[in-house]
């Protein structure tokens, strides 16, 4: 057993911590207020290679593996969940589907730009009638010459309004439906017939634009099929599996920063003539938070290690997302409670963290769906097959 980070990963974390504290923290509040992603900070991140952390250097990636990518997501989400979400959709699920299953030529075509941040990626799965039941997608892709014509809608797409290339799941064989009849396409936003809706107004993650995407007979060349024809659903599910590890890492950052804030405040705030750090209600909340954070940290990095070492990780990945999102919500909620009324103030950072954290229990497969997936794996081992 070896539970230490390599010097490479430690160095990466040091750089990221400093970058996030110096460049991102001062902007995080503004991002929340304006709802506009900060192009300048994205450019800087591109220069540092942060848009391609887990990918091989062959494609211009950083080559830091899943562990390195988890470090990135943890550090980003400590400071600015909106930016972490932009990156999560870009790397963790958007580009990841291409990286996992794309043909070499297609990877060469897009990944270098994606890794450098010159092109922003998005992941287009959800539709108005296909949320948890992703197999219910209806967006059609009809062959026409050496192209496919894509027609339909995606909704809730992170990076929708800023994406240059959207990995889009479409039905290529309606008879088979999603299972066997759906295919992933790399669709460029500049192509005719593609348009993104207005950014949704959300409770949190204001700096991460989410929108509807309209596909009005968009012509997509056949070489832009990602992976195998008809097996797009598998590609996307595999992508989501791995995405859940880094989403877990992001939630870890949120939980960690909540604990730090709570500790700082418990030390300085006095009531009843003593620092509230001397009250057991506060102490126990802190202890519970620390236990939560530590458990999550172990789970997340162990799972990332499984990924990097080519071992099975799917069940653990679901747990990272499930446990992580709930731990983050819980820790931030406790930190807010420890701050009393101050925690509720928008002049202070905690309420933003509280709003931002909530979505992790929902997107990339709701926590109910995670429980179904984990349970179905468990039950399958004892010979029981369940349906969602």
């Amino acid at each position: 057993m070896e539970f230490t980070f390599t010097p490479q990963h430690l160095a990466l974390r040091r750089m990221l911590r400093e970058f996030c504290e110096e460049e991102l923290r001062p902007r995080a509040k503004q991002l929340d207020r304006t709802g506009q992603p900060d192009r300048e900070v994205l450019r800087l991140m591109g220069e540092l290679g942060l848009f391609g952390v887990p990918f091989s250097q062959k494609y211009g990636g950083m080559g830091a593996g899943e562990v390195g990518y988890c470090i990135l997501m943890e550090e980003l989400n400590r400071v600015c969940p909106s930016t972490a979400t932009i990156i999560g959709a870009h790397i963790g699920i958007g580009a990841m589907s291409l990286y996992l299953d794309g043909a070499e030529a297609l990877k060469q075509k897009y990944l270098p730009d994606i890794c450098a941040g010159r092109k922003i990626a998005a992941f287009g799965l959800t539709e108005p009638n296909a949320g948890s039941d992703a197999a219910g997608i209806q967006l059609r892709a009809t062959p026409e010459g050496d192209s496919y014509m894509l027609d339909g809608q995606k909704m809730w797409i992170t990076n929708g309004p800023i994406a240059d290339v959207v990995m889009t799941l479409a039905v290529t064989d309606p008879a088979l439906g999603a299972r066997g009849g759906a295919t992933v396409f790399a669709v460029e936003a500049q192509w005719d017939g593609f348009s993104a809706g207005k950014p949704e107004k959300k409770m949190g993650l204001h700096g991460s634009p989410t929108s509807l995407l309209n596909f009005d007979n968009v012509r997509v060349p056949k070489e832009n099929v990602v992976g195998k024809l008809g097996l797009g659903f598998v590609t996307f599910m595999k992508t989501l599996d791995i995405g859940r590890v880094s989403l877990g890492a992001a939630t870890l950052g949120g939980a960690q920063v909540a604990l730090e804030a709570a500790l700082r405040w418990a030390k300085v705030r006095s009531q009843f003539g003593r620092s509230i750090a001397h009250m057991q209600s506060i102490q126990f909340m802190l202890a519970d938070m620390a236990a939560d954070v530590e458990a999550l940290r172990s789970l997340v990095y162990r799972t990332a290690w499984l990924v990097d070492n080519g071992q099975p990780f799917i069940r653990e990945a679901g747990m990272c997302k499930l446990l992580g999102s709930e731990i983050a919500s819980r820790c931030i909620d406790r930190a807010l409670q420890i701050h009393g009324a101050l925690g509720l103030s928008r002049d202070f950072h905690l309420e933003r963290g509280w709003r931002d954290a909530r979505i992790a229990e929902i997107f990339e497969g709701t926590n109910e769906v995670q429980r179904i997936v984990i349970a179905s794996e468990l039950l399958q081992e004892v010979g029981v097959r369940i349906r969602p």
Partner: protein
């Protein structure tokens, strides 16, 4: 034992619900979005007698009992928590404290104004006095026949919209709770400066302010209750406020549950309404059960108050459980909404944000638990300090 509301209470409840649905609901989202206190709604409420609900008729009130007043807050909160808390602060903290401690002249001068739609505020909390308000930095000194103030009050609800403020200040510094007094200050007082509007996570229609008190004079007669008797007044006001907030929490939780049920019935995934799924059903069952237990706590505490029996402990329990259930219900029902729960287009995210403040305003969860534990241990002959 009789668990039924009286006929009169039922009639009022229907009236409140009707008012809330017709007048409050349509502007709830707008109120949250613009963060503007719902002035027009409050005027309509005043016209209905709802801003003096438990005040005597002779003073412009509607002479409702505490239980009926709780039904009002619950109904308002089912549509808009900001409106409900605004009314709760106005009534339980400001109005009823005046009614309890005011001289005949004070009551006659002020209560009809409050019942008529001028808002009341209650300025106790200070930057360094939140859970513990026994030591205040704000000072009031009597000089040349008038009170002169110096201090800062924070988190004053209705702070920018009120016409009347009950202000708590140290009249004998160094004596702690035994040196605090309450004062009635008019909005027009030149030494009352309304400061920063607190931008909040939820309850965005509630006008929460920092107040600066700098100078005087406030006529000597505007002392409320006995000199150095402010602490007891504040305690009783807080007990009333807890009951009121418990009723607000109940309404918030009911609202969340109703939104969740509606969504679960309409939303189809995997070929059926998600309401058909066991996990969703469990959420609904848990929330409904908890809401019912809060309702009974609220009604019981209100009934005790109406019977003239001690109700502080019951109110603390109702406030504590109520806030928790409101937040938990809103949280679960947001989850039922899936991605839509995160959208501003659906009311549940507002309800969820609103619910969070309930665990802090009017005494935090931790403080309520302390109070309940104190009562429990007192019965065992043990005295505890916070």
């Amino acid at each position: 034992m009789d668990f039924n509301l009286s006929e009169e209470q039922q009639m009022f409840r229907d009236l409140f619900r009707d008012f809330a649905e017709k007048e409050v609901a349509p502007v709830a989202e707008h109120t949250d979005h613009t963060e503007a206190p719902p002035a027009a709604v409050l005027q309509k409420a005043a016209a209905q007698g709802f801003l003096g609900a438990p005040f005597p008729e002779a003073l412009g009130g509607a002479a409702m009992d505490q239980l009926t007043y709780c039904l009002l807050l619950e109904a308002l909160a089912q549509q808009c928590a900001s409106t409900a808390v605004t009314v709760a602060v106005h009534t339980s903290l400001a109005g009823l404290t005046l009614l309890e401690a005011g001289t005949a002249a004070q009551k006659e001068a002020y209560l009809p104004r409050l019942a008529g739609g001028e808002l009341g505020a209650f300025a106790l909390t200070e930057p360094d006095a939140g859970s513990d308000t026994s030591v205040l930095q704000t000072r009031a000194v009597l000089a040349n026949g008038g009170w002169h103030f110096d201090g800062v009050k924070s988190w004053v609800s209705n702070g920018g919209t009120a016409g009347l403020y009950l202000v708590f200040a140290a009249t004998e510094p160094g004596k702690g709770p035994a040196g605090l007094s309450a004062f009635i200050v008019e909005k027009s007082a030149p030494y009352l400066v309304v400061g920063h509007r607190e931008p909040t996570l939820g309850l965005r229609g509630l006008d929460v302010r920092t107040l600066y008190l700098e100078g005087g004079p406030l006529p000597e007669g505007e002392l409320l209750g006995p000199l150095n008797g402010g602490w007891a007044l504040a305690q009783r006001a807080q007990d009333r406020f807890k009951l009121a907030l418990a009723a607000v929490s109940l309404g918030v939780a009911e609202n969340a549950l109703a939104l969740g049920v509606r969504f679960a019935v309409e939303r189809k995934q995997f070929g059926t309404a998600i309401a058909q799924k066991g996990a969703i059903q469990t959420y609904l069952a848990d929330c409904a059960t908890e809401i019912e237990s809060v309702r009974h706590l609220v009604h019981h505490a209100a009934w005790l108050a109406d019977q003239g029996q001690p109700y502080a402990r019951a109110a603390a329990m109702a406030k504590y459980l109520g806030a928790r259930v409101a937040k938990d219900t809103a949280n679960k029902m947001l989850q039922v909404h899936g991605g839509y729960g995160f959208s501003d287009e659906y009311a549940i995210s507002r309800v969820y944000r609103d619910s969070r403040a309930l665990k802090i305003v009017g005494g935090t969860d931790e403080v309520q638990r302390f109070l309940v534990a104190q009562a429990v241990l007192q019965e065992a002959g043990v005295a505890i300090q916070p």
